[in-house]
Subunit: 214 residues, 2 copies
DNA sequence: CGAATGGTTGATTGTGATCAATTCCCGTGG
DNA sequence: CCACGGGAATTGATCACAATCAACCATTCG
């Protein structure tokens, strides 16, 4: 029973604002507050979502109480398409989020939509494989270094903000928050990065980090 | 530098038999001997493949010499489709294999093919996520139990053969061969399975194994 | 200002990696 | 058919790294 369980739903006081138009079928733009659930694993997969702004985690809750984050969705990503009838993962807002709600295309009727969907699926596949690569082996340092480099896609933007908590990172990398903290500290001591605050950091030695992950 | 490096290519003495017909473009059926490479990571992704018989591993080789297996393909699986121009993974025959070589569909020209491709991609995505779930966390026992249960898709066929080596399993689960061996031994001692030979086993307590993975 | 949440740090333990021998298969050739 | 050889697998001893348990800081928010 890990600290992951503490990640409680805050669904009580109506955090989900209604669509920002009177005709939801025309502008299905939704907003979600941090830690709010967009959809749940096992629920009927009626909609797909396109993330406009914010960060979303795709995760799964295990019987023993631990949580596993399988993917972080960034703006532009489409998520929630499934081979079957049910969502395979829960989707939750990490930060405040704006999403577009999309109808699942009927592939038999609209084969053209399949081309787009295909692109989404392939990109999701690449991401899932990259994640598996990260987890597959290697020390905490290798995983965390890979994670940080993946996160900073655009290179020259040297100051970067971590939108997620240590617990999120830990559940994504299959480590504990203590190990995340210590490993970050180690990177700092080695002069590879600088922690401005706990959530803002500057990568000083990109090469060095890259050398770690192999 | 792990024992994975010992996994040497045996590409010297022409193991790849030619297509079994005089007109390869009509019946592109290929055979591969164990450990033979079907395609290599980084190579130009000109073809897709459908596995007819045998077992294929999709893997990646790291700079430090270790190997990571990301997926095992079973008969019926289609593999080798990519979002980009290059293969993201190497594909190697684990056992003797028969594969169909397929042309990459031109999605712009043939949107109907996109529907099929979409199905393949979604199935591959599900597999990749299942793999990430397996790796994400949990003890060696949890990983191995999950692996064995996944492997035995058809339930009542109680005697099952492991087509791959311990090294393959280790590289798939992010563990070492010693740990695989010890964990299997532990399962045997707990009466959960019986090892007829190193490669043939019988699951005695399916429930127990399932209870482990969570 | 005080509570709460998130993050860091320290001490200890446990699990799996590593190093090192054997043993077991299984195919091969005498 | 049996002996042999070599890769695969098991087993043992030790070590290293990350999990766990437990305080302790720092920020934010009411």
């Amino acid at each position: 029973m890990s600290a992951s369980m503490m990640q409680e739903r805050k669904s009580g006081p109506a955090l989900a604002r209604p669509p920002q138009t009177a005709r939801p079928e025309v502008q299905p733009v939704l907003s979600f507050a941090p830690d709010e659930t967009i959809f749940r694993e096992g629920g009927e997969a009626r909609w797909m979502y396109k993330l406009v702004d914010g960060l979303v985690r795709g995760c799964r809750f295990h019987a023993d109480g631990r949580r596993q984050i399988e993917v972080f969705h960034k703006p532009g990503d489409v998520f929630g398409f499934e081979p079957g009838l049910e969502y395979g993962l829960s989707a939750e807002a990490v930060t405040a989020c704006t999403v577009l709600r999309l109808a699942r295309p009927d592939l038999a009727r609209d084969p053209h939509a399949a081309v787009r969907l295909c692109g989404y699926a392939m990109r999701a596949l690449a991401a899932a494989q990259a994640h598996a690569r990260l987890l597959g082996r290697g020390s905490a340092g290798q995983r965390l270094a890979g994670f940080l480099l993946d996160l900073q896609a655009e290179p020259r933007q040297e100051l970067m903000e971590l939108p997620m908590t240590r617990q999120d990172i830990a559940d994504y990398l299959g480590l504990t928050i203590e190990t995340i903290s210590r490993t970050l500290g180690q990177f700092v001591r080695q002069g590879m990065l600088h922690l401005v605050t706990a959530r803002k950091l500057r990568i000083l030695d990109r090469e060095g980090l890259a050398a770690l992950c192999g």
